[in-house]
């Protein structure tokens, strides 16, 4: 027996150890870093303590009966079965408690729905399975993808500190400014949540939802998509970096220049090698989640590209499906998600990677013309 017990103990200890050494035992909600998140936190604590108090009274009476009024101790039962006064009291008192709870809750809700003018407006669009951030007044935008390597998810590599909560391009916002988020989605419903801000709002295709925040402390804040949106719902984090105003201004200026450069790239003459190199990168972020890094897909929902008709035969059909998507399936229209350069690169890559050796390439200019003809 003892040997078995020791073995079992060692096994359980061995299983528990890695997790224990990595994690913490957080019990409560974060107070967060915004006015709203702090209001929510105090509201949460008030309700929690009210519930605890009610619980102590109700369960106290119950446990008293359980210990004192037992048949085994010869307790003789009373026979009362109603008392109008008591029954009215325990209807009215909870009602009063509820009214007391509702007052601060209403005040917080009114604060959350404050629609006064904002300093920065950002359009947030949910895609399967990434976020797009567009700075409406600044004329640039970009996608934000999970940057945790596949090898960490599949346990072939040690997990990093911000496992599943890290992205390639975080959202950048200035501190001390009211930032308005306009949320929508391209495919299914997503929900954009940053716990530290107390901001969660659904991103719904065909709707524009509105919410806002004002962050006073610079820092990096992490959250996740909270509405089931398909296969990689657990793999589309939200990362927001709040930076001082000057840093923000410099960053915006850089982004504008970069966006302009990107547009100029369309006119450049691209070689096959350049397109393949760029295509591989674009494929990894835009396509690999469904069609897999090796083009093998996950049929039937996500067909293979390796050796597929689309990638090997008619080029025009290939361009069409990438640019316009295929309605009724998970294949999105990438025409507005990717630049002409990336579209050309991805299509060229798909036609020449993993043994798809067509030797054909399409240039950004051709894509540009194709889109204009439509």
């Amino acid at each position: 027996m003892r040997v078995h017990a020791q073995r079992a103990g060692a096994l359980i200890g061995g299983l528990m150890f890695p997790a224990v050494s990595l994690a913490d035992w957080t019990l409560n909600m974060t107070p967060g870093v915004t006015g709203i998140s702090n209001e929510i936190f105090s509201l949460h604590m008030i309700i929690l303590w009210i519930c605890v108090a009610i619980g102590v009274v109700v369960f106290g009476v119950m446990f008293w009966s359980i210990f004192a009024h037992r048949k085994s101790q010869g307790y003789k039962p009373a026979n009362f079965h109603e008392n109008t006064l008591v029954e009215i009291l325990w209807t009215i008192i909870p009602f009063v408690i509820l009214v007391v709870m509702a007052i601060p809750a209403t005040a917080t809700l009114v604060d959350m729905y404050d629609t006064t003018e904002s300093d920065v407006d950002i359009k947030v669009t949910g895609y399967q399975w990434k976020w797009q951030y567009e700075y409406i007044n600044e004329d640039f935008g970009y996608f934000s993808n999970l940057s945790t390597p596949r090898d960490q998810i599949n346990n072939r590599q040690a997990k990093g500190e911000n496992y599943l909560l890290e992205v390639d391009n975080p959202l950048i916002i200035p501190v001390g400014k009211k930032v308005r988020f306009l949320l929508t989605a391209n495919d299914v419903i997503h929900s954009w949540w940053v716990p530290d801000f107390g901001v969660k709002k659904d991103a719904i295709p065909g709707f524009i939802n509105e919410t806002w925040t004002r962050v006073d402390e610079p820092g990096t804040y992490r959250g996740q998509c909270t509405e089931l949106c398909g296969k990689d719902h657990g793999f589309m984090p939200v990362v927001v970096k709040a930076v001082p105003q000057e840093e923000y201004d410099t960053w915006v200026a850089e982004q504008k220049v970069a966006a302009e450069k990107e547009r100029e790239l369309t006119q450049k003459d691209w070689t096959m090698a350049e397109l393949m190199e760029r295509g591989e990168k674009a494929y990894q972020t835009a396509c690999a989640a469904c069609h897999q890094a090796d083009g093998s897909g996950a049929p039937p929902a996500f067909p293979a590209l390796k050796g597929s008709k689309i990638a090997l035969e008619d080029m025009a059909a290939h361009i069409d499906i990438v640019v316009n998507g295929k309605s009724g399936t998970a294949m999105q229209a990438f025409g507005n998600q990717l630049s002409e350069v990336d579209l050309a690169a991805v299509i060229t890559y798909e036609r020449n990677a993993w043994g798809n050796n067509t030797g054909e390439m399409v240039t950004p200019k051709e894509i540009f013309d194709y889109k204009n003809e439509q």
């Binding site: 994690a23 909600m29 009024h69 307790y75 709870m101 809750a105 997990k159 495919d187």
Partner: protein, 527 residues
């Protein structure tokens, strides 16, 4: 097939038919009740197995056992099977067995329809479970099947899922009609409405809820069917439709649905607590009014499931206030149960243990429900594990403990044998510990920021997920013990008296144990 007419004409009781046709063709409420209970337990084990897959994958961070596609199928099927296959049929089974015995009726009012409503269920679940083997896999969009994830982006098996839901809906509606017809027409002389046992009252109200909302569910899945197969755009924004409309219609069904799953348990517990307190139920009338109030309020609170979809502030306030109000009648019920125990002469056999745990743990689920009702705080709780903790606290120690309590309470009446009390108490304690270990840490996970329905999670959630998985495995394995206890009790055991519990009251205890195949051919008199 004319057994009922014959018994009246000749005053001689037919026994059950022999072989499989007894079960296929039966119109006997006891046989049908037994079939419902067996079916629901089978579904409980199947849905539970899926929960074990989910908890095994969530045991540690990283993807180990299943891929996200299959994980989503498991969460979806677990929810659908537990709600429509385990909890609802279990209560219909209890209703079939107990309602005629409690009101002194010879059978349900519509026995042939009763047979049909049962046999539709295995058909529906055969279709639903078969989707797991279809190309593209089973439904993977959560048991709430929000559009457009379930329409434009759903797997090809979605149409089969819709068909299965339609059949389940027909079965439930027919079952509900039968319950109402039985209760309103077949009560023993002298049993006025306000003398009905509470299980009868709660089932009557549940049946009205079912009739009101199952057609709404049928409507919403029919709109999905049209969107998927016939080119309509009810929920497709690109065709002028509205994805949020889906949620409004779904939750108009969905919120009363949660009361459908708990009200009969309220009723059963209101028999068990007085029986083992040896003292009448405190506040019978206020219990009835409270159930009525809960049922009515359940129709005007649906959008509290949708606080983050962007409803205007006036809507948020209305649904927040209405939801908070439900705490009042629910509180009254809890206070009444406690007052029933207060100064009783308590003993703690298995039914009482489950009933007391029901009151405590359901109240904890009620507290988290009240927290979720506070709209601004819900922005932080919504779609996190806090919600998962909440609804498992009201469903597992609520609905399911209610069912276990009922099963142990009435097993002597059904089988004529006492169950093994030591084993039953072991079943209780293992379930109680396992269930709390599984679900209490989920509160912490949700508050710390873990979204629900994810197959993999950030490292700070690792510890509590492991605890939760250990608890879930414990709870799951323990249910095999329940199967053993019931089989043992059916096959033998100490003979049960007609009235095996000294404090229990009601017409069901006036017939011998086991209850004869036909009871109350002549209605009893209720004073």
């Amino acid at each position: 097939m004319s057994a009922v007419a014959d018994t009246h004409a000749q005053d001689h009781h037919h026994g059950p038919a022999k072989g499989f046709s007894r079960w296929l063709l039966t119109t006997n409420h006891k046989d049908i009740g037994t079939m419902y209970l067996i079916f629901s337990f089978a579904m409980f084990l199947l849905g539970g197995t899926m929960a074990m897959v989910i908890r095994a994958e969530l045991f540690q961070p990283g993807l180990q056992i299943v891929q996200p596609e299959f994980f989503n199928q498991m969460t979806t099927m677990h929810g659908l099977i537990m709600v429509f296959g385990a909890v609802m049929p279990a209560f219909v089974g209890l209703a079939n067995w107990m309602l005629p015995l409690m009101i002194g009726a010879p059978d349900m009012a519509l026995p042939r329809m009763n047979n049909w409503s049962f046999w539709l269920l295995p058909c529906a679940f055969l279709i639903l479970v078969s989707t797991l083997f279809m190309e593209g896999g089973a439904p993977n969009f959560g048991w709430t099947f929000y559009a457009p994830l379930s329409t434009t982006y759903g797997p090809p098996s979605t149409t089969f899922f819709i068909f299965a839901v339609h059949i389940m809906g027909i079965s439930s509606i027919m079952g509900a009609i039968n319950v109402i017809a039985t209760i309103l027409n077949l009560r023993a002389p002298g049993m006025t409405l306000m003398k009905m046992p509470l299980f009868v009252w709660t089932w009557l109200i549940t049946a009205f809820l079912l009739i009101a909302v199952m057609p709404v569910l049928a409507g919403v899945v029919t709109m999905m069917l049209m969107d998927i197969n016939f080119g309509t755009s009810f929920f497709d924004a690109s065709g002028g439709g509205d994805p949020v409309l889906f949620q409004h219609v779904f939750w108009f069904f969905g919120h009363p649905e949660v009361y459908i799953m708990i009200l009969p348990a309220f009723g059963a517990v209101s028999h068990i607590i007085p029986a083992f307190s040896r003292k009448p139920l405190f506040g019978y009338a206020s219990m009835v009014y409270a159930v009525g109030a809960i049922a009515l309020l359940s129709f005007v609170v649906w959008a509290h499931h949708m606080f983050t979809v962007g409803i205007p502030i006036a809507g948020q306030l209305f649904f927040m206030y209405a939801t908070m109000l439900i705490a009042v009648p629910t509180g009254v019920k809890v206070f009444n149960w406690v007052a029933t125990m207060f100064r009783g002469a308590l003993s703690f056999e298995a039914p009482m243990l489950f009933a007391v745990a029901f009151v405590i743990l359901f109240t904890i689920g009620g507290f988290s429900g009240l927290m979720l009702a506070i709209a601004p705080a819900d922005f932080q709780y919504h779609d996190t594990y806090f919600v998962v903790a909440h609804f498992h606290y009201v469903l597992v120690p609520g609905a399911i403990f209610g069912i276990f309590a009922s099963a142990y309470f009435w097993l002597p009446k059904w089988t004529g044998h006492m169950y093994d009390e030591t084993l039953a108490q072991t079943h209780f304690w293992l379930s109680f510990i396992g269930m709390n270990l599984a679900f209490f840490p989920m509160h912490f996970l949700g508050l710390a920021g873990m979204p629900r329905r994810i197959p993999d999670y950030a490292l700070q959630f690792a510890d509590f997920n492991m605890v939760s998985s250990v608890g879930a495995f414990m709870f799951g394995a323990t249910q095999l013990l329940f199967l053993f206890i019931v089989v043992k009790c059916v096959r033998g055991g100490k003979a049960a008296a007609a009235q095996p519990w000294d404090g229990a009251e009601g017409l069901e205890w006036t017939v011998p144990s086991p209850a004869p195949y036909h009871t109350f051919a002549t209605p009893p008199e209720v004073k």
